[in-house]
């Protein structure tokens, strides 16, 4: 059995090498390109896009100063976030010693919530944090994703790439299988996209809910009968980094509309 497992590891290693080569000519494609006309129109129209409800919720939380508090997010970042810089938002996830290394946009929001507003910390993917994240990322709509890939990020991206090509679950599949090897093909009635993250948090027509990126990872994990990691886990942060930098150059679409 050991020989068999070794052979599998070797084969996967070879696959990753091949993939490294392919990455040279890689063109990222947004999930938007895989949608039908009417869903695209819904996403593009500010009044039709159901995800805008969450943007509004996020805006209210952003501006809200609670009676016993000195500040709101708006105290630092301007009313309705007018001082937020889209180019900075498009850099997330970032590497920041102060935030403990690799930090997602939600980590940043959570940090301000806890330390600048001195509020009780919320768990990762708490609906209030997701709403704030949706509002903030929506400020950078259209801005090209621009995640750092050199310096301290490069070994972290390698770790993310390894997770991305690791087989998980009873079906023994990796992200790579569906979103690289078989992208563009039909899984029953669904066309496989590159699994890009430029539209998150996104509105899902199937569930009628806003969905964070880490929640979407969990859905993919469950689909191949794997035990998902926790939202906010080290594994999902690394996957987020890998997936986001893979989409460098794609316009931010938050809130995207998907099935």
């Amino acid at each position: 059995m050991a020989g068999y497992v070794e052979m599998r590891a070797l084969a996967l290693g070879a696959a990753i090498l091949v993939w490294g080569g392919q990455a040279l000519g890689f063109e990222p494609v947004s999930g938007y390109e895989f949608l039908d006309e009417s869903t695209r129109a819904m996403q593009d129209d500010e009044f039709e896009n159901p995800g805008m409800v969450t943007v509004d919720e996020g805006r209210d939380l952003f501006n809200e100063r609670r009676p016993d508090e000195e500040a709101s997010c708006a105290s630092c970042h301007g009313e309705d976030g007018e001082k937020l810089d889209p180019a900075v938002i498009a850099r997330y996830p970032i590497y920041d010693e102060h935030l403990g290394g690799l930090a997602t946009l939600q980590d940043r929001v959570s940090y301000c919530w806890e330390n600048r507003l001195d509020r009780f910390p919320l768990p990762y993917d708490d609906p209030q944090l997701v709403a704030l994240e949706t509002f903030v990322r929506n400020k950078a709509r259209g801005e090209p994703v621009n995640v750092q890939t050199d310096g301290p990020m490069s070994p972290l991206i390698e770790k993310g790439r390894q997770l991305y090509s690791t087989r998980f679950g009873q079906l023994d599949m990796s992200c790579y299988h569906c979103h690289v090897q078989h992208q563009g093909q039909m899984l029953r009635g669904q066309k496989l996209s590159q699994g890009q993250a430029n539209g998150f948090p996104e509105y899902r027509l199937g569930t009628g809910r806003i969905t964070s990126l880490h929640h979407r990872f969990g859905e993919c994990f469950r689909s191949f009968r794997a035990d998902p990691f926790e939202p906010g886990s080290e594994e999902y942060r690394l996957l987020e980094l890998f997936v986001m930098q893979r989409g460098n150059g794609l316009p931010i679409e938050t809130p995207a509309v998907r099935f």
Binding site: R8, A11, L12, F168, G169, M173, M186, L192
Partner: protein
């Protein structure tokens, strides 16, 4: 002394590996691939092609249709991830088909196709509900193989 130490390390390594492995299902039948084929039916069972056809399109069964075009005209939305199976028995023997359903990774280590009767201990981070179980039962695999051999 050295040898003793090595021995102790070896024993502890073996012990931990053994502990981490879930038990095989009590009715698991061992199989062996030879020349990229499994010529003997799993557990010596006999398959039923009508049941196999139903399993191939059942989203909670084999769900082969998620990835393959099948000669099942009443179903719409056939997958395109794998090759069409319409005439697959004119390309492969029964034994070759059985291996491809049981463990396609033996044919192609990179494949996305799940192994429907692999040793479940080879899988990684399986959800609790499926932990230690094969995807299909031996009888279900034989049913599907019995249907596949009719696809000439």
């Amino acid at each position: 002394m050295r040898t003793l130490l090595t021995l102790l390390v070896l024993i502890s390594v073996t012990a931990t590996t053994a502990q981490e492995l879930p038990p095989l299902p009590s009715d698991y039948c061992h199989w062996k691939a030879d020349h990229l084929a499994i010529d003997e039916a799993l557990c010596g069972l006999k398959g039923n092609p009508a049941r196999g056809r139903a399993l191939a399109i059942d989203p909670h069964g084999g769900n082969c249709i998620a990835c393959h075009h099948l000669p099942v005209p009443e179903e719409s939305f056939h997958g395109t991830i794998g090759p069409p199976l319409d005439k697959v028995a004119s390309r492969y023997t029964e034994g070759q088909l059985r291996l491809r359903v049981v463990d396609e990774q033996q044919v192609n280590p990179f494949t996305i196709m799940p192994g429907f009767y692999r040793d479940p201990r080879l899988a990684n981070r399986v959800a609790d509900a499926y932990w230690g179980k094969t995807f299909l039962t031996a009888q279900q695999v034989e049913d599907i193989v019995a249907w596949l051999v009719t696809l000439k």
